[in-house]
């Protein structure tokens, strides 16, 4: 039987946590920033070049090369931009993270978002925020040390299509240092299949540090260079864009990023001191 109901919804709806609609918690992010900052400043000694090319307002899609068994480039870029520019960065990552218990929740609380075109579109167009993707996907971090700094295929160019649809520029970022922070010697495909994970690496860190090497990075010097924003003169908001145009643009960005990486490596004297 119906209970008598209140005339009005009560004005206060108390919250117990500060988890927002993306699953991010500002409190947890603050803790993560505090813990990560010394690593960023003193371990990787991150140096940026061309940071002024990242806009202070409005959406932009950041794309970067991806490397290291447990990629060290994503937190470096996210923390760097949040610390230097004071703008939040939404890191899009493989849904594999979300599947893993505990880790998935932690990852969401500190700012990770599952890679889905709808999510990217919402961040870029509706919120006007910065969004970071690695177009290589897991093919980037799973490559062995012998392939270092050789960009893999850029997926199906989906990132270009999203930027077109959202009407925002793509800003490529070349990262040097991530490859050496946790180099993969070889992979164990059969173990990966058995565990249901994308890849199981055996890293140099594991040989050097033992079990601690699972998480402990080598102190490689990080250098990042922001390239010129790429805008597309196409109407935004379309459901589909010419596939050939999308693939062309994606390939152009990939070539540009690859050239820049070689350029930066030519200037690098030491892996550890830059």
């Amino acid at each position: 039987m119906p209970l008598p109901r209140p005339a009005e919804p009560s004005a206060t709806s108390p919250r117990l946590s500060d988890v927002d609609e993306w699953g991010r918690s500002e409190h947890m992010r603050e803790v993560a920033r505090r813990v990560y900052d010394p690593l960023y400043r003193h371990w990787f000694r991150v140096e940026w070049e061309g940071l002024e090319k990242i806009p202070r307002t409005g959406g932009a899609l950041l794309v970067a090369n991806h490397a290291g068994a447990i990629p060290s480039d994503a937190p470096v870029i996210m923390h760097g931009i949040e610390a230097e520019l004071g703008r939040p960065v939404y890191g899009l990552a493989d849904y594999f993270f979300r599947q893993a218990p505990w880790m998935g929740t932690m990852w969401a609380r500190v700012g990770g978002v599952p890679a889905h075109p709808d999510n990217a579109l919402r961040i870029l167009r509706d919120q006007g925020d910065l969004c970071l993707v690695f177009p290589e996907g897991t093919k980037g971090p799973s490559k062995t040390y012998t392939d270092r700094y050789r960009l893999r295929r850029f997926g199906r160019g989906g990132f270009v299509e999203i930027a077109m649809r959202a009407g925002v520029p793509v800003i490529p970022i070349a990262v040097v240092g991530a490859e050496e922070s946790m180099p993969i010697l070889f992979r164990l495909p059969s173990v990966a299949r058995a565990l249901g994970v994308p890849y199981v690496p055996v890293t140099a860190n594991m040989l050097a540090f033992g079990p601690a090497g699972l998480l402990l990075y080598f102190p490689a010097k990080f250098k990042l260079r922001v390239l010129d924003p790429v805008s597309f003169d196409v109407p935004s908001g379309q459901e589909r864009y010419s596939k050939s145009r999308v693939m062309d643009e994606a390939e152009k960005i990939r070539m540009n990023l690859q050239e820049t990486l070689y350029d930066m490596l030519r200037a690098r004297r030491s892996v550890w001191f830059g």
Binding site: M1, G104, H116
Partner: protein
Amino acid sequence: MGRRVLITGLDTFWGGRMAQALESDPEVDMILGMGTSEPSVPLERAEFVRADQTYSILSRIVRATQVDTIVHTFLVTDSTKAPPRALHEINVIGTMNLLAAAGQPSSSVRQVVVKSSSLVYGSAATDPAWFREETSRTSPARTRVERSLLEVEGFVRDFAEDNPATVVSVIRFANVLGTDIVTPISSNLSRSLCPHVAGYDPLVQFVEEDDVVRCLEHVTRHRIPGLYNVAGSGKLPWTEVAALCGTRLLPLPPVSTRLAAAPLVRLGLIDFPPELEGLLRYGRGIDTTRITKTGFQCGYTTAGTVDNFIRATRLRRSVGKAPPSYTYEQDVEQFFRRSSAVVHSSDATN
């Protein structure tokens, strides 16, 4: 001439609530409710006709009563409410017969409103944070409820295509919480132990039961065609919902979750239907921009819905369940509706 409305599932929670809501609408001339058993809420002018759950006699009723609007609320979105076989009969076969009756060549039906659920989107790791109406689900439907609802929506789509003159409205509601409705989620939250898949803290959305009725009324009254998501704004992590409701979390293992839950369900400690498992892992969010553009606004946010639910639970704990104040009696109802001795307020003012 006013509207003539047929409501399916008059004996169920939503059918009864919908009939009560439409009774106060002066534009509605006649309300006819179908149900497998007697209505459990007092109704002033809605007529009740008993029919089996698959509506085999429906085309005769539609022809005889010349209804112009069908509000289809009798869809089971909770697998604990009906055994698998009945679920299929009610959802799939029932809707099929309903639409067959509504789509006859000389049919009087001008609008069909279907109360669907956001269950059609599923819950998976690959999901976007918000589903728009046109976003397709990312995982295959594994539970019976989801499969049957997808089939139902398929029928409705075909119907809309075949009958372009008929206004077809399909509303996908988020999980409902409210003062009166009992769902597996509401029972879990009102017990002292509430299931939770260890290692996951999904974001969930709720819609208040009154908002569901108001929304169905809104699309019916304004004849709004199309497919819409409806949910209270905002999302809450499941652990926070449980904490707000003052229940303790009972962690289930992240692997073999169903297996571990089965004995607890058997003992009546928790409710854990298959469609809840995905939700408690990955949650679900639906984008409500489209319904907002039609001029509908939920009265409660997700947090407000939870708060309202807690208040109702506290009240119920203190005063207990009120004894049923109404039972349907055919003769009495007939007397009130038909006898010339009864003075109807509308007649009196004329």
